[in-house]
Structure formats: structure tokens, C-alpha cells
């Protein structure tokens, strides 16, 4: 599926984006949610540890991520691409505006629900049943959004606790949506490990279900076991573990169109931990 990468590169050329989309080794960046993170991002930049910032749109109008002077990848957790009610145009408009303002090479989106209606969010992204009916919904929503944005969309899965649906796994569902919609993929390493643990599958289950040439970005964060059960959760307050970084190192070698590796780390976690996590991630992603 080299054609997918060509599509993305085509968009980039027409936009004359400042995003340095050069290929291996992938660029290293981090997710940005608000201005309280600016100080640690600037330290990381001065140390040569960060190449880009991933902005989670929409952002507060009082925030100025442009102060960082870093290339931007646009992301959002606020569009429910699996919603049978479609996507809220008010949110999509702000995401599109931000992505174009910062010349993002693609827009990261979640294969998820956010509520039980046409607008709103009840908190963290929710998985639909992974079945053909919601695959069709996601394909339609993704195509419409790509057309509206005039940019490629890269699809991301959330963590799975209780799998339901007719697909063999959520990764098979993701692959079906991405192929049919013609989209890119963000492979969230932490969500993948969490889901495989929670569903009782082998640690690296499901990678062969994906068209790996569509993967342009990795998301990496800490994970933790539940206090009172055997289930694992996302833990953006923690740095990625050594075993997660080992997997990142392996993935970088087999993903032909990988361009970006993004650290997800909470704004209220220690800044020195952010710096060391970026350093460790860079080492893992560039290891030969």
C-alpha cells in the first residue's frame, strides 16, 4: 500500500508544510494539551530531544502552542468516528482550522464513540461493538471528514476491556476501516498492549491483521495494572516502561512509512520525567 504514503506526501507537497516529513528514522514528538506544558517542551527543544508537537484540538483560545516554534501534527479526541449520529460540525471546524493553521501533515482521529447522541462527550473515548455495521459507519464518517479537512486522517484505537463484535479483533476492525476509507493509521503501542492483556491474548497479537504500510505514527505512554483487578489501564502520568520501549524499537524496523513517534505524558507529571522519557524514546526509535 505504498499508494497511501504517496497520497499523504502529495498533500504535503501541495501544502508546502514545514513538517519535516523525511522518513526513517521517525521524528520524535509529544502530545500537547495546554500551555502549562510549554516550559518542559522548550527545555526538550533546547536539548534536541523533540522534533514536533502533537496538538490535541480544540485548544483553549488563550493558549499559544505556536510559541514553541515546533512543527505540528494535529490530533483530536473529540470526534466520534464510529458514531451513528455522525460527527459534530462545530468540533470538526475547529480541528480543521487548527490543522491548516499549523500545516499538519495529517489529522489523528479516534475510532470511537463519545456519547449517545449527535453531540457531546461523556469522558474518555468508547469502543463500539467491532462489527460490520459500525465499520460502515466509521468508513462513512472518515471519508466525509477527510473530504471536509482536505487532509489525510490517521485512525487510532482506544484500549479494549471487553471485546464485542463480529470481527476477530479491534485490529481487524481498524484495518477494514482504514482500507475502505483510504486512511492512515496511528498505532498506539500502549493501547495495543493493554488490549491484548485485557482480552487474554498474546502480547504482540494482531499486528499481522494490519496493513503496516498505512501506519505513519506511533503513540507511546505508560501503562499500569488496576489496583484491584487484572486489567491494565493507560497511565499518561507514567513514562513508557522498558518493555514498551523495546517493542517501539522493534516496530520502527518493520513499519515502512512510519514518520512520527509521539510520547503521551500528562502535564501534571514531573517535567524531568518528561525529558528522560523523550530521551529514552528517541534512543529506542533510532536504535539500529
Amino acid at each position: 500500500m505504498a499508494c497511501i504514503a504517496s497520497i499523504a506526501i502529495g498533500y504535503l507537497l501541495t501544502m508546502q508544510t514545514p513538517f519535516p516529513f523525511t522518513g526513517h528514522p521517525p521524528l520524535i514528538g509529544a502530545r500537547w494539551d495546554d500551555g502549562s506544558q510549554n516550559a518542559r517542551f522548550l527545555v526538550a527543544k533546547s536539548l534536541g530531544l523533540i522534533d514536533f508537537v502533537e496538538i490535541n484540538f480544540p485548544v483553549s483560545p488563550s493558549e499559544s502552542p505556536s510559541e514553541l516554534g515546533l512543527p505540528v501534527i494535529a490530533h483530536t479526541s473529540n470526534n466520534p468516528l464510529c458514531s451513528a449520529f455522525g460527527v459534530d460540525p462545530a468540533v470538526a471546524a475547529l480541528v480543521r482550522q487548527g490543522a491548516h493553521e499549523f500545516a499538519s501533515p495529517w489529522i489523528g482521529e479516534h475510532l470511537a464513540w463519545l456519547s449517545d447522541g449527535p453531540v457531546g462527550s461523556m469522558g474518555y473515548v468508547m469502543n463500539p461493538p467491532f462489527c460490520t455495521e459500525f465499520k460502515d459507519v466509521a468508513v462513512e464518517n472518515t471519508k466525509r471528514l477527510m473530504s471536509y479537512y482536505g487532509l489525510p486522517v490517521a485512525l487510532e484505537l482506544g484500549p479494549v476491556y471487553s471485546f464485542s463484535g463480529s470481527y476477530e479483533s479491534e485490529l481487524h476492525f481498524l484495518d477494514a476501516v482504514a482500507r475502505e476509507a483510504g486512511s492512515l493509521i496511528i498505532f498506539d503501542v500502549s493501547h495495543w498492549l493493554i488490549s491484548n492483556n485485557n482480552c487474554g491474548r498474546p502480547e504482540r497479537f494482531g499486528l499481522d491483521a494490519l496493513d503496516l504500510s498505512r501506519v505513519v505514527e506511533l503513540h507511546v505512554a505508560g501503562i499500569r495494572p488496576s489496583d484491584n483487578s487484572g486489567y491494565w489501564h493507560d497511565a499518561h502520568a507514567l513514562p513508557p516502561s522498558a518493555s514498551t520501549l523495546e517493542i517501539v524499537s522493534d516496530l520502527v524496523k518493520i513499519l515502512p512509512n512510519l514518520r512520527a513517534v509521539t510520547l503521551e505524558h500528562n502535564a501534571d507529571a514531573p517535567p524531568e520525567e518528561f525529558i528522560s522519557a523523550l530521551r529514552d524514546l528517541r534512543n529506542a526509535a533510532t536504535r539500529q
Binding site: D116, G117, S121
Partner: protein, 238 residues
């Protein structure tokens, strides 16, 4: 015309509606566990749609439910630290809020599920994208905070916590609604008794003013009466 709307039928929307209810609403989970077909029928779905639904009794589903409750509880606890112990003295942190009956009631309410019962999000994306106003307006309504038989101490705590949220976002929100709180917010210390007002200033100080003409003066200064805040108000004033 909304070009981003999806042309899918009512059944698939009802699947989504019910599935999301099962993730948050304890009452629906209990009912679904004992009689799934009856609950499906309430949503216009036949028993054939059971295959789309989660097994609500499994540990994995309940672990997900627990995680989602904690996520919403974190958002609510951070804003209502003064108010929550008055509603339930056992609520002292995010976890105790998440497991409380009070929180179950909130997560089953129309205030949680229906975006039109909330205020606009400060980032300008409309209603239903935050849980602070949903919770405040639910408490205001369900505990009769803006009526003469409401608890004065709850009234003071809720309006201080919620007023702080409104005043804070008046500083930098792109949503016109919040600009109305740039001069602060006030309320009668005792409902229907304008002799003593509490004013939350733009600097988050709580000031008591006792004078016969106090209401007239604060209204003239553009300070908003929190008793008047409800979702309909935000709709009418935009």
C-alpha cells in the same frame, strides 16, 4: 446542511444509545442483566440485537465501567471539593465519589446524558462536552438549591464552586456565554431574601453585602445572579 451527518438508520443509533447507557447507568445495567430483551424492546430493538451488546456481568465490562466512572469523577471532584462533602460526608476523594450512590444517580440522570441540559464548553464547541455544568445544574435542580426549601450551606458551597468555574472561564473563553461573568457572580444568601448577598468577585473573593439596595447595585455592575443560570438561560442569552 450538516455535511458531516451520517445517513444511518434508527436501529444502529439505538444500539449506540443503549450501549452507552450500559456503560454509565447502573439502573440500566441491573435491568439489562436480569431481562435484556425487555430493555432492548424499550429501545425499539429485537432480541436479535443482543449480539451487539456487551456482557454486562463480566469482570472486564465492570472494569471498564469503573474506569469510566473514575474519569468523570475526576472532572467533577476537582471543581466541587467544597460541595461534595455536604452531599455525602464519605466523599473525600475521587475514588469515594466514583463509587458513591450520589454519583450513580448523577450518571443515570438526564443532566448527564442530554447535552441540552448543560452549558456551552469554554472552547466554543457547544454543549455536552464537559461534566462540570452538568453536575452543577443537576445538583441545583435535584436538591432545590434555588428554592426557599433548599439547604443554605449547600447553596453557598455549590454557587462558590460553580461560580468559580464560570468566572475563571470568563477570562479566556471564546464562548460568548462566559463573558457575562467577567464582573463576577452573586446570589442571595438565603433564597428570596435580598437583604444579604454573597458576591464572588472576578478575583475569586467571596464578599457579603448587606443593604437594601444591594441587588440593584450589583445588577448595575453587570454581576450575574447564579439563581438565574440554567441551560435555557444560556440559550436565550446568546
Amino acid at each position: 446542511m450538516n455535511t458531516l451527518a451520517t445517513p444511518f438508520g434508527e436501529s444502529i443509533r439505538q444500539i449506540q444509545r443503549l450501549y452507552v447507557r450500559l456503560l454509565f447507568c447502573k439502573q440500566y445495567r441491573v435491568r439489562y442483566a436480569s431481562d435484556p430483551d425487555r430493555v432492548l424492546q424499550k429501545f425499539g430493538l429485537t432480541s436479535a440485537y443482543r449480539s451487539f451488546m456487551p456482557n454486562v456481568s463480566t469482570d472486564s465490562f465492570l472494569a471498564e465501567v469503573n474506569g469510566r466512572r473514575i474519569g468523570v469523577a475526576r472532572e467533577v471532584f476537582d471543581q466541587f471539593r467544597r460541595t461534595l462533602p455536604l452531599l455525602d460526608p464519605h466523599i473525600t476523594n475521587v475514588t469515594s465519589l466514583a463509587v458513591s450512590e450520589l454519583f450513580s444517580d448523577f450518571l443515570s440522570s438526564d443532566y448527564f446524558f442530554q447535552a441540552e441540559n448543560s452549558l456551552p464548553h469554554p472552547y466554543g464547541i457547544g454543549r455536552g462536552y464537559e461534566n462540570v455544568s452538568k453536575f452543577a445544574l443537576w445538583i441545583k435542580h435535584s436538591r432545590h438549591v434555588s428554592s426557599s426549601n433548599g439547604d443554605p450551606s449547600l447553596r453557598r458551597s455549590l454557587y462558590t464552586d460553580f461560580g468559580s468555574y464560570l468566572v475563571l472561564h470568563s477570562r479566556h473563553s471564546s464562548e460568548v456565554f462566559f463573558s457575562r461573568f467577567s464582573s463576577g457572580a452573586y446570589w442571595n444568601e438565603i433564597h428570596d431574601s435580598p437583604a444579604s448577598l454573597l458576591i464572588l468577585t472576578p478575583y475569586f473573593r467571596l464578599v457579603r453585602v448587606s443593604s437594601e439596595s444591594a441587588t440593584e447595585k450589583v445588577v448595575a455592575m453587570g454581576i450575574v445572579d447564579l439563581d438565574t443560570i440554567d441551560p435555557l438561560w444560556s440559550h436565550l442569552k446568546q
